[in-house]
Symmetry: C2
Subunit: 351 residues, 2 copies
């Protein structure tokens, strides 16, 4: 089914750089991976099964957000140096958002910038980390504090990889897809998620490919309207994320990103309604879709942890003149950036 | 004298970004430094005298190439985080090339890119590190292995700072000025250096300002003709540097950069003449100018250290398809990039 709908496309990013997004079958992927004259493949251990054979130019890293640090970065750089990569060589990541963000960062700083290809292996990294040119590592417990804008030359989507994801990882990525459904200016993705639920849950490869495609189109639209992230448009992709990042920080990244985002979505919707910004119907759609897919958003923060939550919130990168901006939806595709009163904020997060 | 000649100018770099170069007096510099609403001033200890008063937002780092590492980088990032810098804040370096390269790198990766101003305090950093958009740290004994292209918004030249430089540092910077004299397509800078020697040696502020200005104009010309460093034009600024970097590596950076460059200049001239590329008159001019300013280029590498030298040479970033490219001059402003025979290379460096 999706073959008729899905198309390779390119996305224009900062400084006019382009990322080409292409969809490949299992066979095409294997051929592609070893088609580079000089490359380093960095795979996380969950995705390493997808990298055939023992090769000099493969580095396998442990999975997990706690690995997204300077030590892993230096491991990648040392490996690149040990196989004499030059600045015209290509770094290829095969894995989730952690390894792709780190590999992208390593590529962006190795000899001041080498080639970069991302082959995301998880739903989260397919719909989020892979497109947009953002690379990063965490530092001193601040997520993505150190990073660069460095668009991949190619993002390669291989939907067959999603079939073997565990549920935990799958639903983590679905949180971002749901976010995109509300950022979209029409209900195409929302309706798709509602009507195709069975095929999505049963991991039908074609349906998942189509879902990734529709989700990436929403992201592409936001990026291209604001490639420099200066107009407050691209910032909307941060919907739910200011909540999510602070939650992840106070729980030492034990909560998966997509779950944290779904929590953040529901908190932003509640805050938005409370402030008279968010349309009640939109909040209902958000609650409906999250509950349709079984997300539990009832988590609240204990009173004694609120100050820590607020201090992490303050370190968020979306800081404007008056404080950290939250993205709050009015309705589909329509949002505002605003600094909420701390008292209201506490109301929607505190136990 | 220089007031009539020197002018503020702007230089167009990669991706169309511009760096504005301005010349300031001692008084103007002090006012400028504290005119930013949110900034971190990173000074090396040699230059910290130029940063007035005790301030929360000043970080003083030890001087020296051995400090140009990941630990210093993280010290800068932690300090920025501790004073709640945002991505719209400005990192200001006051110091030599080491601190300016590191501060630039920190600014380029802090929250994926904050503001950057460079105020070079040494001759070397005024004529070399400050203009061009290159940031870096050394890693695993490879100079500038990790870095970014990240042009400063402003480079502020305060010639009065050169009056108190020790001779060692002064002559280190003069090596790059001399390099620029031969890369220039006319002999303006060469003649200036020959005729103004007395005023230069006696550190006349105006004369030094003019020398920096003339030197930067040469660099600006090369950068603007090849901002992406893809046409082999900007690579010419690497004249003498492939020799110099390898020498610095095998001596653990104990030889000052400018001395290493003057050695590299003379080695490149000898190699160029040997290969029938370099005009004998140009080689004579190079030898004359280096000796006029008292540079000793007689150093040769012991036979047992040649393999190590060659292995560091191989790690040079100027690697092309056939090996590491050397810049060899034909005559003023006219050069070739070429991979010399190893046997010839050894001839000009071995004891």
């Amino acid at each position: 089914m999706y073959k008729e709908i899905m198309e390779n496309f390119s996305c224009v990013l900062k400084d006019g750089k382009e990322t080409f997004v292409k969809f490949v079958s299992e066979k095409e992927m294997a051929e592609y991976l070893f088609s580079f004259p000089s490359s380093l493949i960095v795979a996380d251990e969950n995705a390493s099964y997808a990298v055939p054979g023992e090769r000099m130019n493969v580095l396998v890293l442990k999975s997990g957000e706690e690995m997204k640090n300077q030590e892993s970065l230096f491991t990648i750089i040392r490996k690149a140096l040990s196989i004499s990569l030059s600045r015209s060589s290509t770094f290829i990541s095969v894995g989730g958002g952690v390894v792709s963000d780190m590999t992208a960062f390593a590529a962006s700083v190795y000899m001041r910038g080498a080639g970069l290809v991302l082959l995301p292996s998880t739903l989260l990294s397919m719909v989020d980390a892979s497109l947009g040119g953002k690379s990063a590592i965490d530092f001193d417990n601040v997520k993505n504090l150190i990073g660069t804008f460095y668009p991949a030359e190619e993002v390669v989507i291989a939907p067959h990889l999603l079939k073997t994801l565990d549920d935990h990882q799958f639903f983590s990525g679905l949180g971002e897809v749901i976010k995109h459904a509300f950022l979209a200016s029409d209900k195409t993705l929302f309706d798709f998620l509602v009507h195709e639920k069975e095929r999505i849950i049963s991991r039908d490869e074609n349906t998942l490919g189509e879902m990734v495609y529709l989700s990436l189109l929403v992201k592409k639209d936001f990026i291209e309207r604001d490639p420099e992230e200066k107009r407050g448009i691209r910032s909307a992709l941060n919907l739910g994320h200011t909540f999510a990042h602070a939650l992840e920080s106070i729980t030492n990244y034990k909560i998966p990103h997509g779950y944290a985002v779904s929590w953040g979505l529901s908190r932003a919707a509640e805050l938005g309604v409370m402030m008279g910004i968010t349309d009640k119907n939109l909040k209902d759609d958000i609650d409906f879709l999250l509950s349709l897919y079984g997300y539990d958003t009832s988590l609240r923060i204990r009173k004694e942890e609120i100050p820590l939550f607020l201090s992490y919130k303050e370190k968020d990168k979306k800081r404007g003149k008056n404080g950290v901006n939250f993205v709050l939806m009015r309705t589909y595709g329509d949002y505002v950036l605003t600094v909420p009163d701390e008292s209201l904020l506490i109301k929607v997060i505190q136990e």
